[in-house]
Amino acid sequence: MTNKYLHIVFRDEENLFEGIDLLRANDFSIVDVMTPFPVHGLDHKIGLKPSLIPTVGFICGAIGALTGFFFQSWVFTSSWPMNFGGKPFFAFPSFIPVIFEMTVLFSALGMVLAFLYRSKLYPHKECSTEKVPITTDDQFVIKLMKPEGEKLTLLQKLVNELKVKLDNPEIAISEKLTFFNNKIVALVPLAFILCFSSCKNNKEQPGYEYMPDMVYSRSFEYYSANPLDKSKSMAKVPPVGSIPRSFTPYPYPNTKDGYEQAGKEWINPLSSNDIYIDEGKKLFELYCVYCHGQKGEANGILVEKQKFPPPPSFSSDILKELPAGKIFHSITYGKNLMGPHASMLSYQERCKVVLFVQSLQKKL
């Protein structure tokens, strides 16, 4: 392979540019220029056409943005409309961050794939371009087709002139470029020795620490041994019967018996009045209408779209006589397909919703 080409080695990019100009002016065909870092203006100098990668990036980005936009619109308005914090279903501002991420993702992946495709790189493929290690270190190499006869002498002459002109004797022509930087090669075993010497048998001991700084805290960790009661953890279970601040305990367990008992015993601390019912209605519209429908007639949007089996209507015979305690119990713990709502609604709020549900029962 190598004898088809010639290489000219330079020490810095200023000289490289002069060399390229000279070669192009004399009609030598440059195959490639290899540099340790991207050199501004180089592609233009060797007459490469502007890369198509930005266009690919734009198109993929646009596809990503559209995908992000339409997918979210579809999910949130038609496929599975759900209420998030009382926002409209088509909540465009909150789509934007996702659209942005999709744009970036698609355009980045698209550009990488386009690049791999263009450079014919894929797994198990031998790299077709020549590897010239020195160009990943500190030297610049022009690779050109090996000229014949007269032109070869011309090339030699030109390079010699260039050496004198730029006062840089390190410019050189070379046929084979297999040199490895020996100094660096010598470092490899050393690095291995260092790596292995830092391994230790004791897994608890991290070995030599470069800068422990503030890694070790003087306070106890949650799960460190407790010197007082000889147990394994510092964190303790709170005493039986303690409750968080401003929390109203609900004594009935999540069982069939608890359900029946709540139905008999539980009394709503709020007495029925229009204000509470109205507030209950607002909460119902935020959390429950998707299944139960505006009037509790099991015609919520999820039911109508057949995403969810219809719950019994509040006005039906089964639920008409349901006592407040059972309603509260079901809202708190959920029932069969209906999820628990205790984490979304506070005790007070659940009481208000119960009042509203009762008003639905009575109205019908």
């Binding site: 203006g41 930005p54 926002k87 501002p93 909150s94 934007i96 961050p97």
Partner: protein
């Protein structure tokens, strides 16, 4: 400028609040632009950049407007009663009463003088350094420039955001946003760079800066592109959080802006984001004078409108249209600005002789 002056006086006679709000709008706008000159120079000095030396005389000329805008802003003190609600706090308004230790007139005036004092001091220091450098040469001046730029950048970061709280955010004294200072700063940077770009293009077209080439325009274009996205990012960060959490204390700020100024509200996004973003997207567009002019124009107008939208809805409770007063004042101050800038540019070679990075700018490819 003359026509502007006439309109301004008409405005003063007819409506006090409108007069002072447009005084604030234009005074602040041109302060930002003038200040952006100093920021431009110090950023590039600190980043050891070479390319900007080809145009560094232009930001230096822009800075010359700073003393004048200081006078304009100090004159604003006559109108504080009309503009700033906190100057006459009502009994029982506990929130404002709690803020009086910061929002009171004497301290307000002291701060204003302090900001301008610092800005003018550092700006003129940088100008003088470059004048000296031109005369004497040597590296010592550049080292000095680095020193002053570093101090300035730190002080600027603090004072610029404090100034935007004081002058703009306190129009709505009950409301606050923690990224307001940054938001104003991002506007300062884009609109300043847009003005610099327009000036460079104008001078280049008229043959005063023959050493400028596509690469320099490319960099200015990258700035316009990048910072208009940055501005939008901050705009959106502030908007999304307030919109999503939907807390009345915070939404009071956006409600009048979206309800009373629906066109303007979205127009500024088009002018400040969509146009520069789409126009300057490709590499070739950033190197093309025509596209640069389009997006600069859009940005310069857009940020003026943006400031209008920050000020007017806070001062007036109902919708007011942009009238003679605002436009007249803009023409007037704009004329003054042009006059100052061109007077300081005229009759000079627009190249910082003896700048250590001067050579680099001629060989620059981007």
């Amino acid at each position: 400028m003359g026509a502007g002056l006439l309109l301004v006086f008409l405005g003063l006679i007819t409506n006090h609040e409108k007069f002072w709000s447009s005084w604030l709008l234009n005074g602040f706008y041109f302060t930002l632009i003038a200040l952006s000159g100093t920021v431009f120079i110090s950023i590039h000095t600190l980043a050891n950049s070479g390319w900007h030396t080809a145009i560094s005389k232009i930001p230096e000329a822009i800075i010359k407007f700073l003393p004048i805008s200081a006078v304009i802003m100090l004159l604003l003190l006559l109108g504080t009663g009309n503009l700033y609600h906190w100057t006459h706090v009502e009994e029982g308004d506990t929130i404002l009463l709690g803020k009086t230790s910061w929002l009171n007139l004497p301290f307000f005036i002291i701060r204003m003088i302090l900001y301008f004092g610092l800005w003018i001091f550092f700006s003129y220091k940088l100008i003088n350094i470059s004048l000296k450098e031109e005369e004497e040469g040597g590296l010592e001046h550049h080292r000095n420039r680095i020193r002053y730029s570093a101090i300035f950048i730190v002080l600027f970061a603090i004072t610029s955001s404090m100034a935007s709280w004081d002058w703009i955010m306190s129009l709505d004294p009950h409301w606050y946003s923690t990224l307001f200072g940054w938001y104003i700063f991002s506007g300062l940077l884009v609109s300043g760079i847009a003005v610099i770009t327009v000036l460079v293009i104008y001078l280049f077209k008229n043959g005063f800066m023959p050493w400028i080439n596509e690469n320099h325009f490319h960099d200015l274009g990258k700035y316009l592109f990048g910072f208009s996205i940055f501005w939008t990012y901050l705009w959106f960060s502030q908007f999304l959080l307030i919109w999503y959490s939907n807390i009345p204390e915070e939404t009071v700020y956006y409600a009048p802006r979206m309800d009373n100024y629906p066109v303007l509200f979205y127009l500024i996004l088009v002018l400040n984001f969509a146009i520069p973003f789409l126009v300057l997207m490709t590499r070739d567009a950033k190197r093309n004078i025509k596209y640069l002019v389009i997006s600069c124009g859009s940005i310069i107008i857009g940020h003026w409108l943006n400031l209008y939208l920050l000020i007017a809805p806070s001062v007036f409770h109902e919708h007011v249209t942009i009238g003679f007063s605002e436009i007249g004042m803009a023409l007037c101050f704009g004329g003054l600005f042009m006059f100052v800038v061109f007077r300081s540019l005229s009759g000079k070679i627009l190249l910082p002789k003896n700048h250590p990075f001067l050579e680099e700018t001629f060989h620059y490819t981007s």
